[in-house]
Subunit: 193 residues, 2 copies
DNA sequence: TTAGACTGTTGACATTTGTCAACATTTTAT
DNA sequence: ATAAAATGTTGACAAATGTCAACAGTCTAA
């Protein structure tokens, strides 16, 4: 079982370690799922019933505009969470697709379970707050970079911040994440830094 | 006292109303502050010791790049929170400025108080989670819009999503928030929708 | 009240980035 | 094994946006 990965992960965010008993409770609220490369986890119009903790693999979230163009909004690898929060908490049909960029092993949780765990285990609540904090900070940096910098600088920032991602996602997906075309990314990469 | 505004605001986010006793505890952790238009709440290099709940007024957070250009990262009005979370929780010098775009009345809280309230009052913890959720969702939409759409569409989205902001912030600040120049915004506005 | 800052618009031109097409390699599915 | 799909690069050109300068109206502080 790869469950222990979630346990270490939770501990990394908690101020005090999560006890084995608490972890048993947490574990009981998750289910396992595997996805093959290119399979959908979520499709536009669906309600996001689960959030996915990624044990292994890589995923992306993207939006398809009126002209049918894909825009990658998020990239995820091991120890990240995939899903559409807006749909998950508001029970609204999602405007996003989430799919697997590699074969994936996931652990899924429903919103009811999340709420139950929050009220039952203060450490879980605390964990979620820390997670949101971290997420908020990363997003803030991303927005700053997006509105302030040229394509080249954005790519360099991304590459130095998430070097692994360069190995794991194809360039056209990274380009889309950065809000530029694959051609522009290709050209930007061939410039010296 | 305008404290009751915070109380209603908290209630709007809680699943059960915040009792008067709980609110007394919460209130005791806040201090009041006023800012005149154009005064700083936070300057680059400082540690963000307080987060500000805005009772009245309007503020912005911005970043100054190597070439001395300002890039507005966030806009805030009544019932929003202003500050730099990264600096606040990590005690790192901030890379942002936060200043008042109108005369402001604020209620300030430190990170220690926030942590204390979280552990003492589950309802406060819950409140923060909801707030982060809402913030996360809004930010997700903003990123989607920024990487997917032209200047005109971004402005129209912004205008329909935050019509008040058009009245309260000058155009060059909105332009910067949208990641475009004031000249481009001026031109985009003169096109018919 | 007055000079200076702040705000907003417009024109001419430069730069960045996108679009479309062609092509080569690699990976994937049958 | 083979065809199709996915990935990545390049060129020619188009479109979007930025830059800089000039200008005018409004607000603000001494």
């Amino acid at each position: 079982m790869l469950m222990h990965q979630l346990h270490s992960y939770l501990n990394a965010y908690a101020s005090n370690p999560v006890t084995d008993e608490d972890f048993e409770i947490i574990k009981s609220h998750f289910t396992n799922k595997t996805l093959r490369k290119r399979q959908y986890f979520l499709e536009e119009g669906e309600i996001c019933k689960h959030f996915a903790y990624i044990i292994k693999g890589a995923m992306r979230k993207y939006h398809v505009d009126d002209q049918g163009k894909e825009h990658v909004v998020d990239l995820y690898i091991e120890n990240w969470w995939a899903g559409d929060l807006e749909s998950f908490v508001m029970l609204k049909p999602s405007i996003y697709y989430v799919d697997a960029c590699e074969d994936c092993e996931l652990m899924l949780i429903t919103n009811e379970s999340k709420i139950k765990l929050c009220s039952q285990l203060p450490s879980f609540n605390q964990f979620l707050l820390k997670l949101d904090e971290r997420n908020h900070i990363a997003t803030q940096r991303r927005i700053t970079s997006t509105i302030s910098s040229s394509a080249k600088v954005r790519y360099d920032d991304f590459a130095s911040c998430y070097p692994e991602f360069l190995q794991r996602f194809p360039q056209h997906i990274i380009a889309s994440y950065l809000g530029i075309t694959k051609e522009t990314l290709s050209r930007v990469r061939s410039q010296v830094s």
